[in-house]
């Protein structure tokens, strides 16, 4: 009945724990071979959604399709998925090889086939020397690899990851992030990856779904999410240091706040006609123009430096624009001083304009 081309399709999914509604009529289509990241702050329902896809939680309402087949009521093992958990969930009494093969042996797969799959997974993940060890004798990164291996030997089309790297230190996380990306390139299967780390999301994802309170706030490529956030929540959530917001009025094609006036020339409005209204403008610290390039900036203004935060590669400068604190990211080698006056330039085309009430992009 369903002849779509999606790898995973979620239709109108609801999930409630008793009176607590965690997911609300959620729709999500994921293409074959896509790397989709579910990103959101803690408690927004990412794990819950992933567990629904895996079949570990029964949805209250709605349907889930995997490879065009309705799997809403199927057991996790029959859905053609493999899953990697935050705590890795390795079986501590079994060797690495035992961990990799336990599910397959249980499914009475022929020995030769098991051998072949384990050998392949071990080679891809470079865990051959560890096969006879117990999980207790592995480092965090090695455990993570074994956990991925357990999903890999299942030879499935869809991989689910629930914060697989968040138990690791920053350096290892960066290394393994690259490995996961490489794994995806190599396997070319669908991956759904939960994280609350936006760097992980931006670097890994083909598309990111930003969640809040059980809803998807925006679904798009990392580029879209970063440059054209559909609402203020996404704009604020993505980017570090986060976006500057100024509350003002949209009047006659310009943003006005006190004596500051920004003509929105070059800005791509969502609608053909945008009426005058109360708005919030969002400007990323790294999109403020300084130095020699200011001369070409569409809008220029003077700002007094209030605080300087050097961060090595960049420096964060706090100034005041229209009476509000405002962050600017400049080069790390800057010679700026406190209380110095600085000319900054703003390109309205790179700003984001949100309706004040609904916080939706205009």
């Amino acid at each position: 009945m369903n002849t779509n081309n999606f790898s995973v399709q979620i239709k109108d999914l609801d999930l409630a724990f008793g009176p607590v509604k965690v997911l609300r009529s959620l729709d999500l289509d994921i293409n074959h071979g896509e790397f989709l990241v579910l990103l959101g702050s803690s408690g927004c329902g990412k794990s819950t959604l992933l567990n629904c896809i895996a079949g570990l939680l029964e949805p209250t309402d709605g349907q889930i399709f995997i490879n065009g087949e309705n799997v809403t009521w199927k057991e996790p093992s029959e859905r053609g998925i493999g899953m990697v958990f935050q705590s890795y969930a390795l079986y501590p009494q079994m060797t690495v090889e035992g961990n990799l093969t336990f599910g397959l042996r249980n499914a009475r797969m022929p020995k030769a086939e098991i051998q072949k799959r384990v050998a392949r997974a071990a080679e891809i993940l470079q865990i051959e020397p560890l096969l006879q060890r117990k999980p207790g004798a592995l480092s965090g990164g090695q455990r993570q690899r074994v956990a991925s291996g357990r999903a890999l030997v299942r030879d499935v089309d869809v991989f689910l990851f629930d914060e697989p790297l968040s138990n690791l230190d920053a350096k290892l996380r960066a290394d393994l992030r690259v490995e996961i990306k490489r794994l995806h390139e190599q396997l070319q299967n669908t991956m759904i990856y939960v994280t609350h780390d936006q760097i992980e999301a931006m670097t890994l994802a083909d598309r990111i779904a930003i969640m809040k309170g059980g809803n998807i706030m925006q679904l798009g490529t990392p580029h879209e999410i970063y440059n054209k956030p559909l609402n203020k929540y996404v704009a604020d959530f993505i980017g570090s240091p986060s976006m500057n917001f100024l509350d003002g009025e949209f009047k006659g094609g310009a943003f006005v706040k006190g004596d500051v006036r920004l003509p929105m020339k070059g800005y791509e409005f969502q609608a053909a006609q945008t009426p005058d209204q109360a708005v919030t403008i969002g400007i990323r610290p790294e999109h403020v123009i300084t130095g020699e390039l200011v001369a070409n900036a569409p809008v220029k203004m003077e700002a007094k430096v209030e605080l300087i935060e050097p961060m090595g590669s960049d420096t964060l400068v706090w100034v005041r624009v229209a009476g509000e604190p405002f962050r600017i990211r400049v080069d790390g080698q800057t010679q700026l001083r406190n209380r110095e006056t600085l000319t900054i330039g703003i390109d309205p085309a790179r700003a984001s304009l949100f309706a004040r009430e609904s916080e939706v992009r205009l």
Binding site: N51, A54, G55, L56, E75, P76, S77, E78, I81, G82, M83, F85, Q86, S87, Y88, A89, Y91, P92, Q93, F102, G103, N106, A107, R150, R154
Partner: protein, 341 residues
């Protein structure tokens, strides 16, 4: 790991000049009373019991060495006063109250003791097996997120709060043919129904076993439940994703992970088995005949009723040795091995 190791190694090197015994002197001093208590009560009293089991003490412990006429030689000599002959007895040397292994020979020659040992064997084996199996099964059932879990847990744990005497009496009534289960079933119309384990010398141990299980399983279940709950939920999810049946997950993954809980349970159940006493007293007082005698009962009777202290000590020494023979190698494997890994 390696970094931490080097850290400790260098830390030890700094302190090496100090003799080991002087390290942490304050805490060692503070623990002296405790160490003394342990030495006196546990080691001292145990040794005392063992030593006296080789004596012939009856009502009171006899002095270990006493002077008694082992031999007396009449020595003739002249009395100084009137010059007549007289005899003086030279009585001799110290003898001891030690009687060697007599008490043990007697012990193993007593039918009542042999029956006790047999009963304890049956009771222990069944109690250990069923406590673990039932305790784990109940815990696993409770773990399946049923409703009213708290109510069930309280009900099952409740008997544990009762004393063995109360449990024994309750089960004595329940198993009594005149007003217990047998009566109820007969009243229902099954006139020939017989269920009187406490009055049948073949089954009396099992009657005691039922009461013991009723009381002890609750605690084992709670221990097991805590152990099961301690297992990462992701393990369950992982095994579900791999399509491993629930029972197999319990057997192959959860139980091996719960090893420490099982060890604790075995120790607790084992201690309960060895000292099973009150239950027997309350239910059968060892009867009918001597068919439900237990070693602890034998010890108590010999020590306080029959005024045969040394015999009681010998019996307790045998119990102690049995426990030690089982426990020491096991403890060695269980706890000693970890250091070598």
């Amino acid at each position: 790991m390696t970094v931490a190791d080097t850290g400790t190694a260098s830390a030890t090197r700094v302190h090496r000049r100090r003799p080991r015994i002087l390290r942490n002197l304050a805490s060692k001093t503070a623990s002296i009373p405790m160490v003394a208590t342990v030495l006196v009560i546990f080691i001292g009293c145990t040794l005392w019991t063992v030593i006296y089991s080789f004596t012939k003490s009856r009502l009171l412990p006899v002095p270990l060495f006493e002077t008694m006429p082992l031999f007396s030689i009449p020595v003739p000599h002249l009395l100084a006063s009137d010059g007549s002959w007289d005899f003086t007895l030279i009585t001799g040397l110290k003898s001891s109250s030690f009687v060697g292994t007599d008490q043990y020979d007697r012990l193993w020659g007593t039918r009542r003791w042999i029956v006790s040992i047999g009963n304890l064997g049956i009771y222990g084996l069944c109690s250990m097996t069923f406590s673990l199996v039932i305790g784990f099964t109940l815990a696993a059932l409770l773990d399946r997120k049923i409703r009213f879990e708290n109510a069930f847990r309280t009900i099952i744990l409740y008997p544990f709060a009762l004393s063995f005497i109360v449990t024994g009496l309750v089960w004595q009534w329940i198993l009594n043919p005149n007003f217990g289960i047998q009566k109820v079933v007969r009243d229902l119309g099954f006139e020939n129904f017989v269920f009187d384990p406490l009055y049948n010398d073949k089954y009396v141990v099992y009657g005691i076993l039922i009461a013991g299980l009723w009381q002890g399983t609750g605690l084992v279940m709670c221990l097991m439940l805590a152990g099961i709950r301690g297992i990462d939920e992701d393990i369950w999810k992982a095994s579900r994703v791999e399509g491993i049946p629930v029972w197999k997950t319990y057997v192959m993954i959860v139980i091996p992970m719960m090893r420490p809980v099982f060890v604790t349970s075995v120790v607790i159940i084992g201690a309960g088995i060895v000292k099973v006493y009150d239950l027997v007293v309350a239910q059968t007082s060892g009867g009918p005949g001597i068919s439900s005698q237990m070693p602890a009962l034998y010890v108590m009777d010999k020590m306080f009723k029959d005024q045969n202290l040394a015999q009681g000590f010998a019996a307790s020494t045998v119990m102690l040795m049995t426990v030690a023979i089982i426990l020491i190698p096991w403890a060695y494997f269980e706890f000693g091995r970890k250091k070598n890994v």
